[in-house]
């Protein structure tokens, strides 16, 4: 359990994608999600697939990690394929066996739509596999900064995200500790009727809430006594830098978009 929590989704490696600015990666993924819908024939889907696998190769993330991340959604992809295979009734009949009839359009639609979904999942997974949550938070804060003008609290949002990232492992350990302490006092968490089990949450959650609210209070006091007063004029420890590789990557995606527009039917 603990190993999953510590690693989250990020896989450390030395690659171009790991070293890219989180801002350019976020923009890249956002654009990719848009252009995926441009593809509508064999050639364009083929190009997108080649691009996605090129990105996976560039990320140097072992296939094993990508597969683990994909496992839960793979079922959904297969489900989509079959939904289209059996329920779309257009085009020529390709295959008939008992009550199952497969139409040409169903096969085409099924393959294209599940492939589109599969590519989207792959690309978005690459983002979180090569970027730590804290980098994404910094990137988001910087990208959304213009929203500050319309009084949207961008800095505060990013800070809340960082605080929660910092305290997720702490609170998980705390939950574990409280559970053990209450079991030692005789609370039975694992058996009994449903009503009793729900009641058993109380001795777990009340101490958890009280301790986490106490932590929040202490943290706020500590921040204010060190002179925290919001985002204005605040300097940063982690600096973001936009380099040549970021521009190059975006240019490559722009070229892909252009080719897709030219080749789509």
């Amino acid at each position: 359990m603990m190993d999953k929590m510590i690693f989250g989704r990020y896989v450390p490696a030395e690659s171009v994608l790991h070293r890219m600015d989180p801002r350019s990666k976020l923009v890249l993924i956002f654009l990719f999600v848009c252009i995926v819908f441009l593809a509508n024939n064999m050639l364009t889907y083929g190009l997108l697939t080649v691009y996605t696998f090129l990105m996976i190769a560039l990320s140097k993330v072992p296939i094993r990690f990508i597969y683990t991340g994909l496992k839960p959604v793979l079922l959904l992809v297969i489900f989509t394929l079959f939904l289209h295979l059996f329920l779309t009734k257009e085009g020529e009949v390709l295959f008939r066996l008992g009550w199952i009839t497969i139409y040409e359009e169903g096969l085409r639609q099924g393959i294209f739509i599940s492939l589109r979904f599969f590519l989207l999942i792959l690309m978005t997974s690459i983002l979180t596999l090569t970027t730590t949550p804290i980098e994404i938070t910094d990137g988001l804060e910087s990208l959304l900064a213009p929203l500050n003008k319309i009084k949207f609290p961008v800095h505060e949002l990013a800070l809340m995200m960082s605080i929660s990232l910092r305290f997720i492992p702490t609170l998980m350990q705390e939950t574990d500790k409280i559970m053990k302490a209450q079991t030692a006092r005789g609370v039975d968490f694992s058996s009994g009727p449903i009503k009793e089990r729900i009641k058993a949450i109380i001795p777990l959650l009340i101490p958890l809430f009280v301790s986490s609210f106490k932590r929040a209070e202490e943290l706020a006091v500590a921040m204010e006594s060190r002179g925290y007063r919001g985002g204005e004029g605040r300097t940063k420890y982690r600096q973001l830098s936009w380099g040549l590789k970021d521009t190059a990557m975006l240019a490559m995606l722009a070229a892909l978009t252009l080719v897709l527009i030219l080749l789509r039917t």
């Binding site: 999953k4 929590m5 989250g8 989704r9 990020y10 991340g69 839960p72 959904l76 989509t80 939904l83 289209h84 329920l87 779309t88 639609q109 739509i113 979904f117 989207l120 999942i121 978005t124 997974s125 983002l127 979180t128 730590t132 949550p133 994404i136 938070t137 009084k151 609290p153 949002l157 809340m160 995200m161 960082s162 605080i163 929660s164 990232l165 305290f167 997720i168 609170l171 998980m172 939950t175 559970m179 968490f189 694992s190 449903i194 089990r197 729900i198 058993a200 109380i202 009340i206 958890l208 986490s212 609210f213 929040a216 209070e217 706020a220 921040m223 204010e224 925290y228 007063r229 919001g230």
Partner: protein, 198 residues
């Protein structure tokens, strides 16, 4: 601060997001909530508590931060899920609905703090969670997967009828617990009295 958020609000919201992460995966800590082989998440339960304890505005902000933290790759969703790809999952609507559920629950409780109000507010929060989430799921199947005619609106709701009874029980329980926490613990707590930051 111009956003009207005190430092304590920021730390409370951050802490509550971490609490949500625990609640979503409660079965990995305590095996007590696996009923009929299905692990139960306490996400709706915590979303309702966020609205009830932190208030409508901060509760909703907290749930938005929760969604963002999950998208950024922190393992905060159920089954330690997370990552940008969760945006494409048909069940992402439930995570978005927590924002509205927390807001409405908080708004109702801010008017009157009695036990029946807490329970009603919690149940309304749960209804919002279901209506928004199920409609999103239906739309997601229609849009992302371009599901053909055979996939009907009724099918989506039939799917959601299974976990409904346990969520009703948990929501009533959330209402009762929020009332208890409010009156026994937080009414005398420091953070309610802290001054607004400069």
């Amino acid at each position: 601060m111009k956003s009207g958020l005190r430092t304590i609000d920021l730390t409370l919201a951050g802490m509550f997001v971490a609490l949500m992460a625990v609640g979503a995966n409660i079965t990995s800590f305590v095996p007590f909530m696996v009923i009929g082989g299905v692990p139960i998440t306490l996400q709706t339960f915590f979303a309702i508590l966020a609205g009830a304890i932190l208030g409508s505005r901060l509760g909703a902000i907290t749930m938005a931060v929760y969604a963002f933290a999950g998208l950024a790759g922190a393992p905060v969703f159920s089954k330690f899920g997370g990552g940008f790809a969760s945006l494409l999952s048909p069940t992402f609507g439930f995570i978005l609905s927590f924002i509205f559920a927390a807001y409405v629950t908080g708004k109702l409780i801010e008017r009157k703090k009695s036990v029946p109000v807490y329970i009603t507010a919690a149940l309304i929060g749960m209804v919002i969670n279901y209506v928004f989430g199920t409609n999103w799921m239906y739309m997601a199947y229609k849009l992302w997967f371009t599901a053909p005619e055979g996939f009907t609106y009724q099918m989506a709701w039939l799917w959601m009828a299974v976990p409904l009874p346990k969520d009703i029980i948990l929501s009533v329980f959330a209402g009762l617990m929020a009332h208890r926490l409010e009156h026994r613990v937080f009414a005398s707590s420091q953070f309610r009295k802290m001054n607004r930051a400069a």
